[in-house]
Amino acid sequence: MQNEPTSSAPGLAGTPANSSFDILHSPLGSPQQGASVREVNDPFHGDLLEVSMGPHHPSTHGVFRMVATLDGEIIVKLKPVFGYLHRNHEKLGENTTYLASMPYTDRLDYLAGMTNNWAYALAVEKLSGQVATERAEYVRVIVGEMMRIVNHCCLVGFLFNDLGTSFTPLLYAFREREKFLDLFEELTGTRMMYNYQRFGGCRVDPTPEWLAKAKALIDGFPRFLDEYEQFLTGNEIMLARTQGVGRLSPELAINAGITGPVLRATGVGYDIRKVDGYGVYPRFDFRVPIGDHGDTYDRYMMRILEMRESVKILQQAFRDLPAGPIIDPKAKNRGLRPKAGEAYGRIEGPKGEIGFYLISDGSTNPYRYRVRPPSFINLTVLEDMCLGHSVADAVVILGSIDIVLGEVDR
């Protein structure tokens, strides 16, 4: 049959004969299996159809394109295409000073600017040997965990939009998110483009009123989550659409460098907050939610559970927040010239491991400025997760990975 997809496993072509170098693919979603969904002698067996979804498609969360080869409704091959938002962020970083890159990092993952700031500040602190003050570390945890809640609110809302529930769950989540953004606006001056972290601390000190407001909001947040879960988690349609859809095996997830909730949904307990223990995270008592099946439902539940854990962390952080300077008075920000060397700093962002790799040659600009974007690398397994599923499921699977094109394309 000429129509039958050849064994065009995405790329066994160039691999050497040595079998130990076979590229790991998900056993659930190997291309061969996807093709055998239908009998070849099916009288209705038609041609394969190549569909280009995107770049202007509401379900792709931005300018993202999926070139899907379909056998009827079933995906037998899927190639993600991106770069439409590419602005060479890394070159910009090499052409500006260390401090001037800070506002640009907000624009990577624009739904979670604070954690980008934090990762960058951490990397530069490693590179230049600076240490943030204790109060600043607590404030970073506070804003970082609030950012995680904001991001997960966004993700869960959009996930339901992708499932076809037009806007109601999204707007409930956005209503809650907006309260957090108002707080961020009060603290940093903007809703999303914070430019808040500095090397050695944070830019402004939160006032006691701000902290009281934030604490009140956090204390009330589990009530919203309960309502939201009552609204959605037990919904039969949602269960039917997400359980068993887009399975990812832990072996593949580890090998493909998947991080964040997508990895933990497969049952791998790897959270950089626990593993690296950066900042003051070792002082907090919290658990890392771990999934079981690695399917879309688990990925959804990861986010809900992580929000609950974030609330726990935040309550402890508000309780223990020490007094002191918000930024090291000797911190060097403007005109920073780190010693020649390199550093890789990473944190657990809401989407996964966000890291910055910096090489300094002793001048005011980084010699090399590299962003390790979590959602870019998490896209590696999109094809493996989608094979054998229908187009509508591909939309949901993409939604559950949680990509932001500002970060994927940089």
């Binding site: 995405p10 790329g11 066994l12 072509a13 160039g14 691999t15 050497p16 130990s20 170098f21 076979d22 590229i23 790991l24 991106f82 770069g83 590419h86 060479n88 890394e90 070159k91 490693k126 590179l127 230049s128 040997g129 593949l252 580890i254 090998n255 493909a256 460098g257 998947i258 991080t259 791998v268 790897y270 593993v275 780190p338 010693k339 020649a340 060397g341 390199e342 550093a343 890789y344 990473r346 491991e353 890291g355 790799y357 090489i359 300094s360 010699y367 090399r368 590299r370 390790r372 870019f376 690398i377 896209l379 590696t380 397994v381 394309d409 940089r410």
Partner: protein, 219 residues
């Protein structure tokens, strides 16, 4: 976790004669790295992944670095015999061309043993024709997109990569934008800016902009 020297010794014990060099990182981060030779790079990577005491199963970050040719001027003081029989110290400048190369850097962690990072580097022969490196995608699939990105932005050709195409730039694009000597194409479009450099560039493309309000600033 073992120190970088111990890891090197492990590798050398397993692969006698393998080219492994420790590159020291002088910065405060002290993340030292291992420079691997091409020939056994993939085997060594597989060994790092599967060796029970290392289990570096998670390649977090893969990226390229461009190191262009550098002219290094060394000044040495040489005694030169003068015609009158005395000796005089004369500074002698020797110019040495340090060859350029492209570098791929991988940051490895272990999810099983929760340690890291171990940094490994691969270097190309030069920046023009010997730009290929063995691909590590067969060892860690997380390199699949990242190596494509390195190929796209730096121009390193990864041998054994399953699907080496441009990823961020479009397929017809010619150059490699992250190289240090990249010159952006001359496709400037006039924009409202009061900056000299941009306006000078604009003059080559457009008649002087009809801005009166801006005339003062644009001089």
């Amino acid at each position: 976790m073992q120190s970088i020297e111990q890891i090197r010794d492990l590798i050398v014990a397993r692969f006698p004669g393998a080219e492994v060099t420790v590159i020291q990182n002088p910065g405060p981060a002290a993340q030292h790295s291992l420079l691997l030779g091409h020939a056994q790079a993939r085997d060594i990577a597989l060994f790092l992944r599967d060796e029970p005491s290392l289990k570096l199963d998670f390649c977090s970050n893969a990226t390229g670095v461009d190191w262009p040719e550098k002219e290094i001027v060394e000044t040495t003081k040489v005694k030169v015999a003068q015609p009158d029989g005395t000796e005089k110290l004369v500074e002698q400048k020797t110019k040495r061309l340090q060859p350029g190369y492209l570098e791929a850097v991988y940051h490895l962690y272990s999810m099983a043993l929760k340690h890291g990072p171990v940094v490994i580097r691969l270097r190309t022969g030069n920046r023009t024709d010997a730009v290929s490196l063995p691909s590590l995608t067969p060892v860690w699939r997380s390199c699949e997109f990242q190596e494509r990105e390195i190929f796209d932005l730096f121009g390193i050709v990864f041998e054994g990569h399953p699907d080496l195409r441009r990823i961020l730039m479009w397929d017809e694009f010619k150059d490699h934008p992250m190289r240090k000597d990249y010159v952006e194409p001359d496709d400037y479009e006039w924009e409202p800016t009061p900056h000299d450099a941009v306006l000078t560039k604009a003059k080559g493309h457009y008649p002087a902009p009809g801005s009166t309000a801006n005339a003062e600033g644009g001089m």
